[in-house]
Amino acid sequence: MFGSVAFLIIIALSLLIFAVSEPLKYYFTLALLLAGVALSGSWSIDILTGSAPAIELILFRPAHGPGFVLTLDSLSAFFVIVINITVLIGFFYARGYLAPYRQTKQNTRFSIHFFSYFWLWLSMLMVVLLRDGLAFLIAWEIMALSSFFLVIFEAEDRKIMKTGISYLIQMHVGMFFILIAFLLVYRATGRLSFDALAEYFSVHRNLPLFLLFFVGFAIKAGFVPLHTWLPEAHPAAPSHVSGVMSGVMIKMGIYGIARVLASMQSDLLATGIFILVISIMSGLGGIMMALVQSDMKKMLAYSTIENIGIIGIGLGLGVTGQALGSQSLALLGFSGALLHVFNHSLFKSLLFFNAGSVYYATHTRNMEQMGGLMKKMPWTAMMFLTGSLAICGLPPFNGFISEYLIYMGMFYSLSDATLYISLLMIVAILALSLIGGLALFAFTRAFGIVFLGEARTAAMNHAGEATPGMIIPQVFTVGLILLVGLGSSVVVKPVFNNVMITWGLKGMPMVAGALSYNLSRISLAGGILVVTLGALLLYRRYHLSRRVVEAGPTWGCGYTAITPRHQYTANSFSGNFNVLAKPVLRTGKIIDLPGENELFPGKREFFTRSHDMFKLYLVDWPANRLSGLLKRIAVMQTGQIRHYILYAFLFMLLVLLLSLFNII
């Protein structure tokens, strides 16, 4: 009871953000967030440690209409933790990031921004805590609206406004799918709630309703081909918002899918294969497109699609495991997916914050103009490196652990699988290893081009390190990444428990025990790695201290007039891949060749660009065809009133004729 009252007070106080004067506004919002995080965090920890099986808090429940009842089970508790960590770190980071805007933006803009940030956090919390369908949809809608206001923080730029509106429209398309799905459940069971899903699924066919839910949630999560809002909205938003959106908001889609999957009872194999196929497409498509971007934040946005693909592969394997009655595959798939949700929320928000710091220092997101930033921003560079290593799934960082779990699921299930399942698994293994290789390609490119070598433009020379206020929150994220990477055997246990409770798996302890042994070995290997590396570096230092160490220019093959412009660019680094991926990415060049009569060719421009083929063929092409068709019909729109009266007359005639022949 105390909890729900305190929670309502925090929500009510958020209105005061508009009233509090400027220097205190940020701290007031922070205090509210901290209070809310502490409250919801303590509930989740109670659930996850098992000291309370489930918590139910009534915020507001009218006799008719949506019931705002917070229901915590282990799945929602897990997501609450994920939300709270990244949202809080993002808000600490926001203070430094927003500082330069204080001179140019009005006070109310900040009020709206902070208010929306608070409500984004609140609505995400509600999304994972509310079970009532209508209340859930209201929270889902607030989430879309508040994130919309966050994206258009720099609304003076018309492009950003346009992106924001297109984002808002796509979110609503998704919402309609979820609404229809809920209404189907309501018609069949008389209840509008997630709790009624199990009842619906036990009677009706499972796949059609799942597909409806999936489309709605997948637009939020960014599965290919429903991802088109993602690479536009993430770069447009301020970096702390992109970090939160990419780190946690899109995971609400994953939460929804997981929640629906947990109640499903039949059609499991078809569902599993469907999710696997979509996820493999997302994973490969996302990382391939990430590899050819020159906009730093767009590249990270595409890599988010890739990671959603990896999470989806985990979920798909889990469902397939359930369908086959293979408990180990189910456990490993679902745990890998959930752990990757947590891991990705850490390293992707970290990478977005770093991209923000780079933007803060250089005022550009174009990687082709950067270079040598590690010398100017050593902290940011080291953290971007940590994030890159983690996202590539390299040991001893956290990404390795979740990818390991997913791989293990596939390898375990191979030995006694039937022919078709073996083929499915081998395709998934092929895809996952290819995704891993491509991620390594994409992130060596991003890190190397942005932070290493020499500055490509003079603007980089004025860049400076981000403020300590921006760096310290990121250090916490790095700490968590290392904690999961090195202490996986401890961290994974609550995730295992969570999966077993949520998906009702029984008789697991044996596989789970073996796995925690494996994970402890992985931790040991990681420890050995760190210690030997430290020892070797110390020895290297001692060794070099007894030799002459000189500085000289980079080897130029005898050529001495080298400028930083000669360096490999981001585009040339991925050039050989572009050639290979041409059928998919259609990378093209726009060259403006000199004319025949031009004796002294002037300045020329040269562009290379790649296409998002999914967007091109699955979204843009049908949309253009449709609008072309509609334009042709618009011939009827003459603007002359007598024509419109004629249309009305013709319509009535049609109705008359149709009813005459008993057709309607």
Partner: protein, 303 residues
């Protein structure tokens, strides 16, 4: 433990054997078998020059590469003598550890700000991306056939499944390991370590700016990596249960044979055209898939 020590010993002779094979094949007197080791000793004594463009990454990368290779060595068994670290799915860690070293070598090349090294780094990133699936499919096939997922157990259970045709698979597997090792270590036909023109290099061009101690570390890592793959091939080909002396002999026999194969390939074969390399490497994945089909037939899932 035995596996680790044997790999270190094999790595001492490995480059020398390649060198001798190439000298004999081309009719030269050539340097002695210990010449690469002497070169290493010279490098370790030398002073260092660092480019002014480079920073921390360039300096730590060779150490990370070496540590990642030694980390991978901890996971390899020697027949029924288990590896120092063994757990289910250790081969996933094996692959990702090697990738960690590669990640650092690629960014170190970009740290020099040289267009040559950027080119080499780009090629290395592409080839290692392409070769990854072949390795994973190969190991998935092992896992499927033996029902185990650890290096230390897979190979022991390989020959006792009672299936007489398993040697077909061993041969394909050994062939693939040799090819993967060639790609991973940047040897012919993908890359020619002896080429003199920067534009045609892959691995060599990435380490152009290294000197002294760090260059020695890179060479040590490369040699260990050869012996690492040699040890994998040995474990695949030689059944468990032979007596220790015979096994040790077989181990060095396989390693020598592997080195001789590399030497002979490099003596009689030209390097691929650079734009043929992706096709060549993707062929390995295809062969791995064929190997997978072979196992499907052997386990009577298919046909």
């Amino acid at each position: 433990m035995a596996g680790f020590i044997l790999i270190v010993i094999a790595a001492l002779f490995f480059p020398g054997i390649i060198l001798r094979t190439k000298s004999i094949a081309s009719g030269r007197k050539g340097p002695g078998i210990f010449q690469p080791l002497k070169d290493l000793a010279v490098l370790l004594r030398k002073d260092s020059v660092f480019s002014t463009s480079t920073g921390l990454i360039f300096r730590i990368a060779p150490s990370v590469a070496l540590v990642s290779v030694t980390g991978a060595m901890l996971l390899l068994p020697f027949s029924e003598h288990k590896a120092i670290l063994h757990f289910e799915g250790d081969f996933i860690m094996f692959a990702y550890l090697l990738a960690l070293g590669k990640f650092f070598m690629i960014i170190a090349a970009l740290d020099t700000g040289s267009s040559f090294e950027g080119m080499g780094a780009s090629r290395e990133a592409l080839y290692s991306m392409l070769v990854e699936p072949a390795f994973f499919i190969l190991l998935a096939t092992f896992a499927m056939f033996s029902s185990y997922t650890s290096f230390s157990v897979i190979f022991n259970h390989f020959y006792i499944t009672g299936n007489d045709y398993v040697f077909i698979y061993s041969i394909i597997g050994a062939y693939l390991f040799v090819q993967i090792a060639m790609v991973e270590n940047s040897r012919l036909p993908v890359d020619d370590p002896k080429t003199h023109l920067e534009l045609t290099m892959v691995h060599e061009v990435m380490i152009l700016d290294y000197s002294g101690f760090d260059k020695a570390l890179i060479h040590i890592a490369t040699n260990l990596k050869f012996a690492l793959y040699g040890s994998l091939i040995y474990n695949l080909l030689v059944p468990a249960g032979w007596n220790t002396l015979l096994k040790t002999g077989a181990f060095f026999g396989v390693q020598t044979l592997f080195a001789v194969i590399i030497g002979i390939t490099e003596s009689f074969r030209a390097r691929n055209k650079m734009n043929k390399n992706p096709k060549f490497i993707l062929t390995l994945t295809t062969i791995a898939l064929i190997a997978f089909m072979v196992i499907l037939i052997l386990t009577e899932k298919l046909v």
